[in-house]
């Protein structure tokens, strides 16, 4: 037996009544022929004052200020990361103010690259790098704060950030050692150069960013040197 359903008549705003009791196949959203400025999601005008757009429109015009780019939302400031990276590349001029705000995304990138270069050399070291960086950060944190005494204010986050950024020379060394034969004398000499570079930059940054490190430059530099020597062992052997 058939049932009759009472369907209310569908009226479109643009006029033109469809046949009642019949659903026309319509497009999911259908702009009216008249552009009605009162309906915000219909407006294409750049200069329109319509706001409160639904999200599925995307960021086509500057009416959508609430939706930030993904990286910005995550707090990854790529320009700053690039600037910090470039500052490490020049060991003779240390830009202290760039490294004032610590972030971990640059180090994460460097460590991933390091792991990838090691992978190209046939060594699967991702977990080891992660563990060693953590231990190294805690080690440097303890040593620096103990040496600096009551006034030392290096915190683990900044310590980790600095160690990670100064890992850049080691990453370059890892890339270069792919081109050299395993066990060549040149590898050792290169290693010395890159470890020295890392140590120099890291100790200078740590001493200038955290207070009360001035009297112990050599001691802190030796601690940094140990850290990077251990990482260079991973690269060389």
């Amino acid at each position: 037996m058939t049932r009759e359903f009472n369907v209310p008549p569908i009226v479109f705003a643009s006029g033109g009544n469809p046949i009642p009791n019949r659903r026309l196949p319509t497009a999911p959203f259908q702009p009216p022929p008249l552009s009605n400025p009162n309906l915000p999601f219909m407006s294409f005008d750049v200069g329109s004052t319509s706001l409160a757009a639904p999200a599925f429109r995307g960021d086509i015009d500057n009416g959508f200020e609430e939706v930030l780019p993904l990286l910005e939302e995550l707090g990854i400031n790529t320009r700053q990361i690039w600037r910090k990276t470039a500052s490490i590349l020049n060991p003779f001029r240390v830009h202290v103010n760039l490294h004032e705000d610590a972030d971990l995304s640059g180090p994460f990138l460097f460590l991933m690259c390091f792991g990838l270069f090691q992978l190209l050399a046939g060594k699967l070291h991702f977990g080891i790098i992660l563990g060693w960086v953590t231990i190294a950060a805690i080690f440097l944190y303890v040593v620096f704060n103990m040496l600096a005494g009551r006034n030392g204010n290096l915190d683990v986050y900044r310590c980790l950030s600095l160690i990670g950024y100064c890992m850049l020379p080691i990453v370059i060394f890892s890339a270069l050692s792919l081109l050299l034969r395993q066990g060549a004398v040149g590898v050792f000499a290169l290693g010395v150069v890159f470890v020295g570079w890392s140590t120099w930059v890291c100790s200078r940054l740590v001493i200038e960013l955290a207070s009360a490190g001035d009297q112990h430059r050599g001691l802190i530099a030796y601690a940094c040197c140990l850290i990077y020597l251990l990482f260079s062992l991973l690269v060389i052997f």
Partner: protein
Amino acid sequence: MKFFEALVVRRRCLRGSSLKLREEMKFFKVQRGGVRRGFICTAMYDNMGGQAGAPKPPFNPQPNPFGNAFSGAGSGLIRGGLGAYGERILGSSSEYVQSNISRYFSDPQYYFQVNDQYVRNKLKVVLFPFLHRGHWTRITEPVGGRLSYKPPVYDINAPDLYIPLMAFGTYVFLTGFSLGLLGKFSPEALTVLFTKGVIVWFIQGLVLKLVLYLLGGAEAPLLDLAAYAGYAFTGMCVAVLGRIVWSYSYYFLLPWTGLCMGMFLVKTMKRVLFAEVRGNDSSRHHYLLLLMALLQFPFFFYLGRAGV
């Protein structure tokens, strides 16, 4: 540049007093950066009835130009001093943690008050103890009515924890390097080395503690013993470095550094013991100290074999 003067400490305790010490320390005046003038600090031991000793102070930190001036006296010093570091290092400022830490450790910050000059001189003392011309006692200074030891910056004989820590790291690196030269390097091997090093350090500390216990129950703070035990790694580093440079030098360097370390430990333990010695059986002392020195050789041998 700062001038420091140790106060004249002239202490004559009556016999039968609780401290049982009898000592005289001379005036010690040093001018930094200039001519060292004045008097050499010596501790003269009064050998009446076999009682000899330097004053045995409770272990207290004291004011120093590093800015961590602790005020107060007594165990409250340690608790107060650790209060600042308790929060920083441990992240908790609970009374329970502080009091427990101060019972087992004694202000680790004392052991890191070092500078370049101290490190260089101390390395010379540890590696060539027979060349150390001065005395081996630690200089004390009265703080708040009690005697405490001077920090390592002012006193070459004070133990520190920076050198052992760095020597340990260097030992791990050098042994890893020599393993790599042999083609046997792997990060797991490095972890095994690290663990072995920690175990040897711990056992060495236990040996020192045992020696102190057997020879009259002298008290030394745990971190002191950890520092003395860790100095073994400096000699070990030299031996492994020699092995990297020329493999046959190892057979000469290892016994040599073992001997030096033994001598160093004997001399320091003797001074630690003198603070508390009450008995008259000095021959027992000497045998146990000799045993302790001889025990260095198996330790060094084990540490060296770990890298082969």
